[in-house]
């Protein structure tokens, strides 16, 4: 008896979405090949005690296309291991290699002390233009099939499809959606100290693969922000010698300057529906939060009117509030206002320095750059439900926190032995990763929404 409990068939719309993503990748590739050094290598620093043992058995390759060097199962295992919540079995220890549910001998896996098994096959799809991954997640103890799916794969899109399988397995076992089928943007700086500094804005898959340089410049680039559909990036560029806010379409490569006021044009944050950007402009003499229309149709609206620094806007999950950094009380702290700029409330009281707010879990978690003195700047989460503060990082110059779209991890920038590196820590502080590039400084990470 191996009939899947849940068989989600290939739908035409999914196929189209996959095809669209492929075109997107192609366009970006055509723009600028990424420098070899810009690829991130992800190391696990700390995992969870008692991580879930799971076996992702190498998938059968029944496709006419050449088999890639890194198999689907290997990608899934690496993803699950990186999450810190799973302890995937090494391939060489698998004494059995089932690829279909009836072939799974549960007793064997129980002896190997594995709780769950993932098996599957890669085949050519019926129309002959791409492939299909059919996979199953089985509970070794009950013998039940927890998940069965057939996933269409556009040519060249196998890695990303493996991330989608990882997401589904993660969700089935952890209870919240995975965040593997996502991308991260970051800035790589090379040539520091040579007088020919180069700033590159890079977009890569969340596991560090497929880095694409989106823009390269000799002037600073900072504050990349993903549009809610994961299709566009807003960022701050000093290409003209002054700060401007650029919106770049990753699909077409098209770049547009959306704000170039006198003074600072900084800290872009997309509204929920992707039509507006909250930004920080100092055209009035000091930085204030404004909301601008991305297409330039509506007139800019000024939300704060204060002589202090007001910057780093972050929208609440329902788009009704904006959190921001202000030093109106002398030191930077986090404030919240409604989307018209009224009802300003101070949110953080603990610590001398709270800046760069970012939210997750329906605004329950507020991650910030935190300091209780002047010298150690760390990533902390204010739990708005329990009103407790948890300092998550242990560096001296940690900054730029960015949540995974499922709220499980916070990605941030740190310095290690004089170099800029990225690090990630789980929201509970138990899992730690380090993300390094082979050359240069890496900074300003931004985790994308789930790429549909």
């Amino acid at each position: 008896m191996y009939l899947p409990e849940k068989l989600i068939s290939t739908s035409a719309s999914t196929g189209k979405r996959v095809a669209r993503r492929l075109i997107l990748l192609g366009f970006v590739l055509a723009l600028l090949p990424a420098s070899a050094w810009s690829q991130l290598r992800i190391e696990i620093v700390d995992g969870v005690e008692g991580a879930m043992p799971i076996a992702v058995v190498p998938f059968a390759w029944d496709s006419s296309a050449p088999e890639p060097a890194t198999g689907v199962a290997e990608i899934i295992s690496a993803n699950l291991r990186r999450s810190g919540l799973f302890d995937p079995m090494a391939e060489r220890d698998m004494i059995d290699r089932p690829t279909r549910p009836p072939e799974v001998r549960f007793g064997t896996w129980r002896l190997l002390r594995v709780d769950h098994v993932v098996i599957g096959r890669v085949t050519d799809d019926e129309e002959g233009w791409g492939q299909e991954i059919e996979y199953h997640l089985l509970d070794v103890h009950t013998g039940r099939i927890l998940l069965s799916q057939a996933l269409p794969v556009a040519p060249g899109d196998l890695r990303f499809a493996a991330h989608r399988v990882s997401d589904a397995v993660y969700e089935a076992l952890i209870g919240i959606p995975g965040a593997f089928a996502t991308r991260i943007a970051y800035v790589v700086v090379t040539g520091t100290g040579t007088g020919e500094e180069v700033f590159e804005l890079v977009v890569a898959d969340a596991d560090g693969h497929n880095p694409q340089t989106i823009v390269r410049n000799t002037q600073p680039i900072l504050s990349p922000a993903w549009s809610p559909d994961g299709r566009r990036l807003a960022y701050v560029s000093f290409a003209t010698g002054r700060s401007n806010i650029i919106v770049q379409d990753l699909f077409t490569g098209q770049m547009r300057t959306v704000s170039s006021e006198r003074g600072i044009n900084g800290a872009p944050a997309w509204s929920q529906e992707g039509r507006e950007l909250a930004v920080s402009l100092s055209r009035g003499g000091s930085p204030d939060i404004w909301v601008i229309d991305v297409d330039g149709e509506a007139r800019p609206r000024q939300l704060t009117h204060h002589w202090s620094i007001n910057t780093e806007a972050a929208w609440s999950h329902d788009g009704r509030h904006i959190y921001f950094t202000s030093d109106r009380a002398g030191r930077p702290q986090i404030y919240r206002m409604d989307r018209r700029g009224d009802n300003v409330t101070r949110i953080t009281n603990e610590g001398r320095y709270n800046a760069r707010p970012t939210l997750a879990n329906q605004d329950r978690f507020l991650a910030v750059v935190y300091s209780d003195g002047d010298n150690d700047f760390r990533i902390a989460i204010h739990d708005r439900e329990t009103e407790r503060l948890r300092v998550l990082s242990d560096g001296r110059l940690d900054e730029s926190p960015s949540f995974a779209p499922n709220g499980s991890m916070v990605l941030y920038a740190a310095r290690q032995e004089g170099r800029g590196v990225l690090a990630a820590v789980s929201a509970d502080g138990r899992v730690r990763q380090r993300l390094v590039v082979s050359e240069g400084d890496v900074r300003e990470p931004a985790w994308s929404p789930i790429i549909r």
Partner: protein, 176 residues
């Protein structure tokens, strides 16, 4: 006597600032002002009064305050400290006397804290120099403030010595 003492104080100041500036790692090179057109005959520096802040030659004269173009700040502060005031005043005098001269006041911070907040802080440092110049009747069209925040450090180590040198406003001439 009073004048002599004031001059002595200025010379000491200049020496102090020069000592400070010498330690600055030259990379990446801050944008240098365009050099003045070559003089027809060699400059007679012995005839040049370093306190003549209307004379463009003093912009390159190490004995003149006009050759000093960096104002340093305390952590998380943006007020121009008294010892740097003469430098700002000298440039204000030059700008008043040379209406076609233009400067960009580049505000910078050290690396601590968040980048976007530091953009705001850098601008505040540029603006406090701007306000002193405006108060000495320099027309606003001659001055522009641009903040680079922590993006353009002159010193790259993570210690107070370096941070001190990075917390600065640079007076950059785009036209003399």
């Amino acid at each position: 006597m009073k004048t002599v003492m004031r001059f002595a104080a200025l010379v000491m100041m200049a020496a102090l600032v020069a000592a400070c500036a010498r330690e600055v790692t030259p990379e990446p090179a801050p944008p240098e002002p365009t050099p003045p057109p070559a003089p027809e005959r060699p400059v007679e520096t012995d005839r040049l009064d370093p306190r003549d802040f209307t004379d463009a030659r003093n912009l390159d004269n190490p004995d003149s305050l006009l050759s000093q173009r960096v104002i340093y700040f305390e952590f998380d502060r943006s007020n121009v400290r008294a010892q740097f005031r003469p430098i700002v005043d000298a440039h204000a005098a030059y700008l008043r006397a040379n209406p076609t001269a233009r400067v960009i006041l580049e505000g910078h911070t050290d690396e601590r804290g968040s980048r976007e907040y530091n953009l705001g802080l850098g601008e505040r440092r540029g603006t406090s120099v701007y306000e002193i110049m405006r108060a000495s009747n320099v027309p606003s069209r001659q001055i522009e403030v641009v903040s680079y925040g922590e993006e353009r450090p002159v010193c790259r180590e993570s210690n107070e010595d370096c941070w001190q040198r990075n917390r600065r406003t640079e007076i950059v001439y785009t036209a003399r």
